[in-house]
Amino acid sequence: MTGGALLTGTAGWLFVAFAVLALASAIAVVAARNPVHSALYLLLSFLLVACIFILQQAEFVGAVQILVYAGGIMVLFLFVVMLVNPGTPRTGRTFQHQWDIALLLLPVLLLPFAYILWTEKLPDLPVNPDALRMVNGKLGGNTEAVAWSLFRDYLLPFEVASVFLLVAMIGAVVLGKRSAETMD
């Protein structure tokens, strides 16, 4: 692959299909009235983004996306939706009062970025997919290469992430448990 092309041919068209579907299901997440529908559209969006990751040969990140997001976080979301069981609001608004102002201001956020993307031509770099699977000078797999980088160059952030998860777990337990006076 030469020039700035990240994907070509069929892979490019697949990217377009996945991206359009992911954006459509993201819109459905925001637009759906029922939280369960939102959660299921979010699951679809995660899976499509995972497909995009796998398409660009980031297999490990795609697998983690499916396992952690689609497997873990979505189960947690659906569990909480079932637990609080708000049901579909038959009456009442889905959106807040300021939704029209937000919709008007959204292009103000988007336009500078769109302008930059339109005018700025990022330099074409040669894409070398094999560089993403080099392990210690030999050609390995993507998972192997990510693990090599994670456990050698990013060992301290990795440990910090484990401490962060512990803190988040304790925080979730403390927030979620009933206090003694409200328990009856």
Binding site: W13, A26, V29, I52, I73, L83, F95, L106, A168, G176
Partner: protein
């Protein structure tokens, strides 16, 4: 169809904007959390695309970290949701206005 980094940036920008809009306008706290997940996912898309463009694995490693942070954020956010539901018997963010926010 030839896909360059600009296509990735456009998709990521739109995904982020949809998530941002959801955070701003939804009344249901659960859907606000889901919109935050959409925004984090858009960032991951950029990380992985630039990782491929620059032929550097750092982007992929960082997107793994972002997924970790998203998991922690979802756990704490959902605990807050349950806490809010116990206090107010609703998930409407407009009702949680004790601090006049």
């Amino acid at each position: 169809m030839t896909i360059t980094i600009n296509h990735y940036l456009i998709v990521s920008l739109l995904l982020f904007a949809i998530g941002f809009f959801g955070v701003l306008v939804r009344r249901n706290f659960l859907t606000v959390l889901m919109s935050i997940e959409l925004m984090l996912n858009a960032v991951n898309l950029n990380f992985v695309a630039f990782s491929r463009r620059l032929s550097d694995l750092t982007g992929q490693v960082f997107s793994v970290f972002v997924i970790t942070i998203a998991a922690g954020e979802a756990a704490v956010g959902l605990a807050l949701t349950i806490s809010l539901f116990r206090q107010k018997k609703t998930l409407n963010v407009e009702e949680a206005s004790t601090m006049r926010g």
